[in-house]
């Protein structure tokens, strides 16, 4: 089966070691995690992990069932890129002199709708949010001017077709055992 990019959202109780329990499911099957982001959810004490992997859907389905099987996982779901609204953030550190010279670099920053977060005598930090392709495009254009440092976050994603987490949790809390 064809490999595609999937976003897996895992909602868990907020406890120590949960990230480990989640990631070993992938490790064991030798699935590389392209990106991972952990944060709170809209419900207190429920954390969400957003993972991106490239795999065949059949495997993704099985992995999600394995995730759901974990005692402290409240819910796990997977989506194709078309089913989620997602963003990543990238930070670029470039020499300030490149931007001061009034040349191409400034135009590049403008064209990409990136913003300058901090200007120091030696370096400037630029921020760009978008899809990976977009943050990568800016990287590719800035790189020739001297990239001092680069970092990109994991994907965060909001799912389009989904029951609200609140309704899922309410249903689970109603179950007797």
């Amino acid at each position: 089966m064809k490999k595609e990019r999937y976003t897996i959202s895992v909602f868990t109780e907020d406890i120590v070691g949960m990230l480990n329990r989640v990631t070993i499911i992938f490790t064991r099957r030798k699935i590389n995690i392209d990106s991972i982001a952990a944060s709170e959810s809209e419900i207190a004490n429920i954390h969400r992990y957003t993972l991106v992997i490239s795999e065949a859907e059949d495997m993704v389905k099985k992995v999600v069932l394995q995730l759901e099987k974990q005692v402290e996982v409240v819910k796990a779901v997977y989506h194709k890129d078309s089913e989620v609204v997602y963003q990543e953030i990238a930070l670029y550190k470039v020499p300030t002199e490149v931007l001061l010279s009034g040349g191409e670099a400034e135009k590049i920053v403008r064209a990409h709708h990136a913003r300058v977060l901090s200007v120091e005598p030696a370096f400037t930090v630029i921020e760009k949010t978008g899809h990976k392709e977009e943050t990568q495009a800016l990287f590719n254009q800035l790189e020739p001017y001297g990239m001092l440092e680069f970092v990109r976050s994991g994907r965060v994603a909001i799912t389009k077709p989904m029951k609200t987490l609140k309704s899922i949790v309410e249903e689970l809390e109603k179950v007797q055992y």
Binding site: E13, V16, N20, L65, V71, E72, V74, L172, V175, Q176
Partner: protein
């Protein structure tokens, strides 16, 4: 979910140390027997155990692996949660094999480990190991306690998780300072959590769909596994198959859920299973799998497995459904609940011609394999004839415990079972060394049953230190070592697939008679056929533990066999 067993002796309440809280929590769960091995980081709990010897017996194993396998044997023989306890570091890591075994074979276990004091965590302190991290992939749940107040809840949760849904092992790691700290103890059994709903709601539509398919089937075939035993559905299962007249075959963990001589029991599935059920898997039109998970040893090549059949899969764990074999009709449910509903709406039927096909193939297998194994004309004894002699002489109030390898397959194939939970074997993990300690646990859990441990000469030497445990507690296990002076199963594969290159499978064994005698256990060695019946008689009648060593043919093979990568229908009789 099982009902929580409440003991007559209520646990204490009020101020106590964390270690007393550990012990009182275990007592509150109705446990009266546990297995373990002491050490530095768990000493406070041992000290607390000293005060409750009347209510909670601690069995000192000779190695932590022995303790955990004994807890497994206890759990498998009784259906209760097995409990074991060990210290930090090597004590904890020595439990891992048994925990992994319990995970893959769905055995309810609560393992408690001591841990270095919380201020030392992560410092590479003496006997510190990250057992929570190490055990994470092989436990159903685990938790580290660093404060005494967490203890009652952690242990209550541990028992709940271990025994509910699809059972499994859990581990609670308790730092030494938490064991010393004081806590105001009040035990409240755990009743559930939103992220873990172990009992799926039975979907009656799926039951109807399953019934329709079963009713329309011409050649239906049932595969049953340990799910029947775990959900205590033996009776419901039997009524279901008797109503529908469907031939039923078992996985080795499902063995003993249905008596061996039932007219619809058509034998063992898998690599060394019976000829008929393997062959006919690829001829049935509806395959009904109940409480089993289509392990690769059952299916052989998946791309040629039951492709002609529509599949009904009754299973409590959603992640097992369509994992290996696509289920046309999944019934995600507790086996007992599903079978009760299903039995109401299936047609009463018989399938005499179809059943006869199984019997015909069974005859073929008998002529080429079974007859020779049970009534051999060879000079040396065979494993099968030793097992058969035990069948003939025993009253079937037995629990058979096996190790892993040729003797295990022979035991599964040839022992006859009348009672549920009377076969205990390491199926999924295939842990050599499992048998002797598991048999000790089984006997201590079911003291009124005759427990017979069947072991190879290889596996026996992996955990024979547990003879010490048998000796100390006077555990009456009958040990049968089938000695072929080889690691027989590996040797068989070397013979068949590695041009007889017997790399490191020859065993030069010590005098087992002298070793076992040293533990005060009666022994006998059998070489000749004419001595066998008397020796088994002596063993079965002997009061107390007994060790019978049978010298069997060195290069005998287990057949039939589905070679790795072959289809079940390509099962070989020789």
């Amino acid at each position: 979910m099982d009902t929580i067993e409440v003991k007559d002796t209520m646990p204490k309440q009020g101020l106590m140390t964390g270690s007393q809280a550990v012990v009182q929590s275990i007592i509150a769960e109705g446990v009266n027997l546990m297995f373990g091995y002491p050490g530095g980081a768990i000493m406070p709990v041992y000290d607390a155990l000293y005060d409750v010897e009347q209510e909670l017996t601690h069995v000192l194993a000779r190695h932590e692996q022995g303790a955990v396998h004994a807890a497994q044997g206890y759990a498998r023989a009784t259906g209760k949660v097995g409990v074991c306890i060990a210290t930090s570091g090597p004590g904890a890591t020595n439990l891992i094999t048994g925990i992994a075994d319990a995970q893959i074979d769905s055995t309810p276990l609560v393992c408690i480990t001591g841990q270095v004091a919380s201020h030392l965590l992560g410092t590479d302190a003496f006997q510190e190991t990250d057992v929570v991290g190490i055990s994470m992939p092989v436990t159903k749940w685990n938790f580290q306690v660093t404060r005494a107040e967490e203890i009652p809840m952690a242990i209550a949760k541990a028992f709940y998780i271990a025994r509910s849904g699809k059972p499994g092992p859990v581990l609670v790691d308790i730092t030494k300072d938490a064991q010393f700290e004081e806590v105001d103890f009040n035990y409240v059994p755990f009743t559930g959590m939103r992220s873990y709903r172990p009992k799926p709601k039975l979907d009656l539509d799926s039951v109807k769909a399953a019934a329709n398919l079963i009713n329309s089937a011409k050649r239906p075939f049932i595969l049953f596994g340990q799910g029947i035993i775990l959900s205590k559905a033996e009776k419901e299962f039997k009524s279901f198959i008797e109503k529908t007249g469907i031939p039923s075959a078992w996985t080795i963990l499902g063995l003993s859920a249905l008596e061996s001589d039932h007219y619809l029991n058509v034998g063992m599935l898998g690599m060394h299973g019976n000829y008929a059920p393997n062959k006919l898997t690829n001829e049935c039109d509806v395959l009904i799998a109940i409480g089993m998970r289509f392990d690769d040893r059952i299916t052989g090549d998946l791309s040629r497995y039951a492709k002609q059949a529509k599949v009904v899969h009754i299973e409590i764990d959603p992640s097992e459904v369509s994992k290996n074999v696509h289920a046309n009709i999944p019934v995600i449910a507790d086996a007992k609940e599903a079978l009760l509903e299903l039995s109401k709406i299936v047609d009463e039927k018989t399938h005499p011609d179809w059943l006869q096909k199984f019997r015909d193939l069974e005859m073929e297998e008998y002529e080429l394999v079974i007859g020779n194994e049970l009534y051999p004309s060879t000079e040396k004894l065979t494993m099968g004839e030793v097992i058969n002699e035990i069948n003939i002489q025993s009253d079937h109030n037995n629990i058979i415990v096996t190790d892993v390898g040729q003797h295990q397959m022979m035991s599964c194939r040839y022992f006859k079972f009348q009672q549920t939970k009377s076969m205990i074997t390491s199926g999924g993990l295939g842990t050599m060394g499992f048998c002797l300690p598991a048999a000790i646990g089984a006997k201590m859990g079911q003291p009124n049953k005759q427990v017979i441990a069947v072991i190879g000469d290889g596996g026996f030497q992996m955990t024979l230190q547990e003879l010490g445990t048998m000796f100390q507690y006077g555990v009456d296990v009958k040990i049968v070592v089938l000695n072929n002076e080889f690691l027989g199963m590996v040797r068989q594969w070397q013979e068949m697939f590695f041009e007889k290159r017997y790399a490191s499978t020859t065993m030069v064994n010590p005098d087992f008679q002298r070793i076992v005698s040293g533990y005060g256990i009666a022994t006998k060695k059998v070489v000749k056929r004419e001595e066998l019946a008397d020796a088994i008689k002596e063993m079965l009648n002997h009061k107390g533990a007994y060790f019978l060593e049978a010298i069997v043919g060195k290069e005998n093979n287990v057949f039939p066999m589905v070679p790795t990568g072959a289809s079940v229908s390509e099962i070989r009789l020789k």
